[in-house]
């Protein structure tokens, strides 16, 4: 069943639906989503997809831990962090606009249309790798969102200000585990060391600005990721020092002719991830239950 607008969807009887394509609420319902003056709408759409896809894809990797976490406390922690990021993804994909809704963006785009950094899509791996990826991702995203809270776009600014509070908890969770593993047993130390080594080739990409990011930074709407490196390095240095670990010394993973995740060029893992993420929605488009 489909509706012309969110109002019809919520007033229909027995309207509590929880699935894609079923009159799912617009998370920005009732907000003024006009594009700020002097900003190219297509640029704003692409930028929202970048930040939204980062959250969506990392959230998916975290969801893969459901029922697989080593302890019950971590099971709920990882699921909650994944839920926070899914919520951020919903807001950002809805903000992307461009005549498409959040579900359409999540379930009916192909791999080359996703703009997430490649770090997000790397295979799930073990608990050491989970913590390594989350530490890097949350540290980077917190630095980004705390600056984006000053965006001239009131919607992005509000999404970012809300996200800062959430990602602060995510970063602390990952950082505390990194210290516990690194300064733990010989075995735990090796697992987190190896995890960091696996994700580190994808760290450099986080700080390379895409031309759209630069244009929107110029317009006062976005954040130039190259300005985040100093804060990132400082936080990582604090965590790794407490964890008695070294910053990995590994070569960066090159893109294809200089193109990486922000350009829609991904690693092999991305296709498998999307196949799982999108299979139900594509098998039953407009399906309801």
């Amino acid at each position: 069943m489909s509706f012309d607008n969110a109002y019809e969807a919520i007033t229909e009887e027995n309207s509590s639906r929880w699935a894609f394509g079923t009159g799912f609420e617009d998370p920005l319902s009732g907000m003024d989503t006009a594009v700020p003056s002097g900003v190219d709408a297509a640029d704003l759409t692409a930028y929202c997809l970048m930040l939204g896809d980062d959250a969506l894809i990392v959230s998916h990797r975290l969801q893969e831990w459901c029922t697989n976490a080593p302890e019950l406390e971590d099971e709920v922690a990882i699921a909650n962090i994944g839920l926070d990021l899914l919520g951020q993804a919903r807001l950002l994909l809805a903000r992307a606009g461009g005549g498409r809704g959040e579900d359409d963006y999540a379930f009916f785009r192909d791999e080359h249309e996703f703009r997430n950094v490649r770090l997000a899509e790397l295979p799930r791996g073990d608990f050491g790798k989970l913590i390594a990826r989350l530490l890097v991702f949350a540290t980077w995203r917190l630095a980004l969102l705390s600056r984006l809270a000053d965006s001239r776009d009131p919607v992005l600014s509000a999404i970012a200000a809300k996200g800062v509070k959430e990602v602060t908890y995510h970063r602390d969770y990952a950082a505390q585990w990194a210290v516990r593993l690194g300064d733990g047993t010989e075995y735990s130390r090796e697992r987190i060391r190896e995890g960091l080594e696996r994700v580190w080739p994808f760290v450099g990409e986080l700080f390379v600005p895409h031309e759209i990011e630069l244009r929107l930074t110029e317009a006062g709407v976005a954040v130039d990721p190259s300005t985040l490196r100093a804060e990132f390095d400082d936080v990582i240095a604090q965590v790794l020092a407490a964890a008695t670990l070294d910053v990995p010394d590994v070569a960066a993973r090159a893109g294809v002719a200089g193109r990486t995740g922000r350009d829609g060029v991904h690693t092999e893992a991305m296709g498998y991830l999307l196949a799982e993420l999108q299979s139900v929605a594509r098998a039953h488009p407009e399906g309801t239950w």
Partner: protein, 167 residues
């Protein structure tokens, strides 16, 4: 007109949170504004967390409650700014949380300019046990059954309990 508006607000204030049914949305600080425009009641709510899965149910509950009270045209709007803070939970809401065995939040961390500070150690905040009142408690996990709560244990009565964490 003024009377009708007050009634609509009073109706909206009776709607409870789907996950913490002992609290109303007003107690929780989620209900931000009730106004009326051209015969339509406009209710503004704000999510506690970006991924709060209860938002849809809150909308439904608000619409149904206002319909039942005779308001045919109801619009529920989302507001994200300023972001929800646990400081908005009312005194009554805090008492209801404690009565339900959930330790209420302390003061939310103040926003400061510059980088967000990293917390590497265990939480230093002493959360009082909602069962026996002891301050001898420890944090087990910063995340619990919902994103808004942390899991703690009382060292005096040995019972685990939830704490609504500061946001």
């Amino acid at each position: 007109m003024v009377t009708a508006l007050r009634d609509a607000r009073a109706v909206a204030e009776t709607v409870t949170d789907p996950e913490l049914p002992m609290l109303t949305l007003a107690d929780l600080g989620v209900l931000r504004e009730v106004s009326e425009s051209g015969g339509t009641v406009i209710v503004s709510i704000t999510p506690t967390y970006s991924g709060c899965p209860a938002m849809d149910t809150m909308r439904d509950d608000l619409v149904h409650a206002l319909h039942a009270a005779g308001y045919d045209e109801v619009e529920v709007r989302t507001v994200l700014h300023p972001p929800w803070s646990t400081d908005w939970i009312s005194e009554a809401g805090r008492r209801k949380l404690a009565d339900a065995g959930i330790a209420p939040p302390g003061d939310a961390p103040a926003a400061r300019p510059g980088p967000v500070p990293l917390t590497l150690g265990p939480t230093v905040r002493r959360v009082r046990c909602p069962r026996c009142g002891s301050a001898e408690t420890e944090e087990l996990s910063r995340f619990s059954a919902t994103a808004c709560k942390a899991l703690h244990r009382c060292r005096a009565c040995a019972e685990p309990f939830e704490h609504m964490k500061e946001l």
